[in-house]
Symmetry: D2
Subunit: 302 residues, 4 copies
């Protein structure tokens, strides 16, 4: 149960009090405000605030391009044009602020996206809750045998059972000792900033994360991708759902050009041209390495 | 008249349509939305959008410091604490979007603040308006005789008259030729991206500028400072007025710690201590250079 | 003549004094150090310093991916892999510092690339030289009739002559008045920070510009592109030549994947697949807009 | 023993091969190149590369301020002037690249400094070593009783012994299970990207970290400060020693204005002025809160 009764009461109160504003309002986003979308076993994402909508993207673009944008007949077409030609600044004119609860090992990947603002719960000041990510059985994946970075099939039987036992047992014991070390009853109590080092990376942390739409799309392209680690991808997927309601036209263009698109090298484009002219092209005659050719074939074959 | 009738009609329409939102609303800021605040002879700033308020700063800080912040009794005290100890991330949780019309030579200084989002009117696509900054007579300052970077007294008499004549005449002639060169009646017309190079740096441009509150404060500290060039300072001053209505507690802390504060070196603090102990300290015994001592004295004497 | 005799003497002296270092040395880059590569009529680029080489990119990647990179047999293959999969951080481990002299209207485009460090010559402090960019006759292009942003054929005859006369005459007159206004003989002299506003955007400025290789590639992709304005493209081209000597493997991968590559949307990839299966696809059946289809065809047809 | 025999052999080889370069060479830094400076029980910092020196800072400043800088007689005076007046861009012209080995909980603080380039060892791809930070007995501090964030005296006796036993025992057990879970002998082996979640935050990681001098000074000001957590402060201290040899003039100015300096609020300056005029000022008459007054007194009393 990721949201406490106290938090739910706070959410209910916040959602009960609409106020008038003269700012751009995205109807689809108002429905999401403050509500927690569950992710993993104890995590969530919640929209805390947002700025702008599809129209705000176009408004900013029209400042830049002036009458030059008049030829594009509507906002949706303009947004597709901007996305296609990598005009990133109009998308930067929208901003979103999320409250995210997530395991530490996911947070460590996430924070590598530098162009964002973050306030994380500090275990120097405060005591962490006893909540750890324990994968569902079907997510307890083996190491991939073909890819150093990937996952294979789910573990089964005794091996799966042993792994779960270790993960649960070690987390419980580490947390018990953490709690015991910082306890100040009848002893001095270890400094929190030191005691936290005993906690494993599947413990949950939380933060406020604020980012503009351009940089959010960059994050989503990498983290909602099929090659991203499952445990961060589910957060990216949850955010995608929210963004689709917030800026439907921009999200649709993002899906077509970024998520569904592909970047072909000069060599790859040359191969496509040769094939279209009827030539038979193989990896050997393509100029590409084996790995590159494999990726190229998977794009052409879908 | 910096705002056209068409623009005023648009502003009036935008201001007539309040919509309900569940987001944080800063009452003081709603009054500013879309309205143009005149700056210089043809410039303005207008608030297009904002995110957050004083409470949002505290909310983000409390995520970070948890119960550690309970000891600070109220939001104002917490905000002062954050400002005093350079905790910048909670201030980054607020965001503002401005529409600014400004001379190009001011824009060139402004853009050096890199942590912001900008969409500028493009003279590659579109035609610039015939509007130039011409200083008021009392702002037509002489070069400072003591400071390479500063200004002295206002020019007077014939010299002032000649300067104004040059500024006005050259701007008019350059613009006439610009318009003639791009004209496509009876000739091909020079490309706009080339023709713009004939325009002097006092021509007005405009942009949407979006920035978080922490970086805005950094901008204001440098540009609302007495040593900043007058022509950018008036923009910073106009923004200060808006920010004071938006986040009154944060702005008040900013005024006390940043605008009204001073950074003393280790040597300077040592001198203060010696003076407080009754010692007579001079530049020669201070360990400071002459320039540094002069600045130090001006801080102590106010 | 973009380099003065004084500057050339300084360059010669700097190039005469090699010192031993334990750092990575890129032989191809040492040849470029300090030398000015002429660009436009008075501009140049000069390499002032650099950090890293192709090996440094691989070294950083191997820290990240550990033994996972052993399967890639050589540095060139690893660099191509990194570029193909958008692993940007290893490229950020190389850095270059350039001295650039360029017209102000080019500088205004350039500075929009925010992730870089800049020290520009300040016309608040110092007096600008009397040097303006005047296009060669074959670069005096007409406004494009099909593209708001582009250029058409070069102007000819009387129109070309008149444009050149305007550009030269206005620059000369504006500079004469600038010099007269700041002159302190027999008058107070206008403050430099004000007088500079009389100068047109084809006057030359200069700066030190420092950027990491990842962000430099992003700059080059946009500015060495055929759609970039000619006057900034020539700077990008000059930098490309330098980078090819500095990090040959990385530059080669950049050429193939970025400059020579193309980004296809999901719709475009779907069309390629359909064509490869023998289907006849037209704009009408493609799901693309006319503009998008035109761009797609030009990729396929080369 | 933080450096392996293999690593030492690599360092020796790199240090044996000086090559000629035309770039700026900082003699004091060449001595540090590649050598590991031990930090904590298994950590280190090593300089991998650097760009620029004190002269490079002045060179960049002189591009900006032109003849305006001639009045400052020497590089050291100019650097002090730049530091005093927050001219940050010349310091950005120097760059350093470090190899750092550090516990994960330190890495999590460190990474919050966003304006830097990082390549971290990836536990998705590769297996982490069995190395954990275990504090020395005198660093096993109790929670501060006056400050939520701070440390008190070192624990002693049975409490200290129990804490060490927990930290060592939990780390060992978690690592054993990590190793067992990923093992592929006679079982599939859990994916590395999952298994890493069982490791506590005192395990060591490593990265390449590249940053410009301005942002490094900002990092050092916060992390070499007496209020920073001891475990990151020792890294900052080690870096300070290196920087002092690299750019002695800039480091000296940094020490005086940043590390040894203090930022006084407008209220605090007003109090200093009143005291200097002979007035008796107390917290009650100062306009400051109790906390603020306490900090103010500690500045004045040293």
């Amino acid at each position: 149960m990721p949201i406490t009764a106290e938090q739910q009461a706070e959410i209910d109160e916040l959602r009960a009090n609409a106020k008038p504003t003269l700012r751009a309002v995205a109807e689809g986003m108002e429905n999401h405000l403050y509500k927690a979308h569950d992710v993993l076993d104890h995590g969530f994402i919640r929209v805390i605030d947002y700025m702008g909508d599809d129209a705000a993207i176009c408004q900013a673009a029209r400042v830049s391009y002036g009458k030059g944008t008049k030829s594009v007949q509507n906002d949706e077409g303009l947004i597709r044009y901007l996305m296609r030609h990598w005009h990133s600044t109009p998308f930067e004119m929208c901003e979103i602020k999320l409250h995210v609860k997530l395991p530490v090992f996911v947070a460590r990947q996430w924070i590598r996206h530098r162009t964002a603002n973050v306030n994380e719960y500090s275990a120097r000041y405060s005591i962490l809750d006893r909540e750890f990510y324990i994968p569902e059985p079907d997510k307890l994946a083996a190491q991939s045998v073909i890819n150093n970075q990937g996952r294979g099939e789910a573990l089964t039987g005794e091996e799966a059972a042993r792994v779960l036992e270790y993960l649960k047992g070690d987390a419980a014991r580490c947390y018990d000792h953490y709690a015991e070390m910082i306890d100040q009853e009848g002893q001095q109590g270890l400094a929190r900033e030191l005691a936290r080092m005993n906690l494993p990376a599947n413990i949950y942390t939380q933060w406020y994360w604020k980012v503009d739409l351009h940089n959010l799309f960059h994050f989503l392209r990498l983290r909602a991708d099929a090659h991203a680690q499952y445990e961060i991808r589910v957060y990216a997927d949850a955010i995608c759902n929210v963004v689709a309601d917030w800026v439907p036209a921009a999200y649709s263009a993002f899906e077509d050009y970024r998520m569904g698109g592909a970047n072909l090298s000069g060599k790859a484009i040359d191969c496509v041209r040769r094939v279209l002219k009827g030539e038979k092209v193989t990896q050997e005659t393509s100029g590409m390495s084996k790995g590159e050719w494999r990726e190229f074939e998977s794009i052409l074959n879908g």
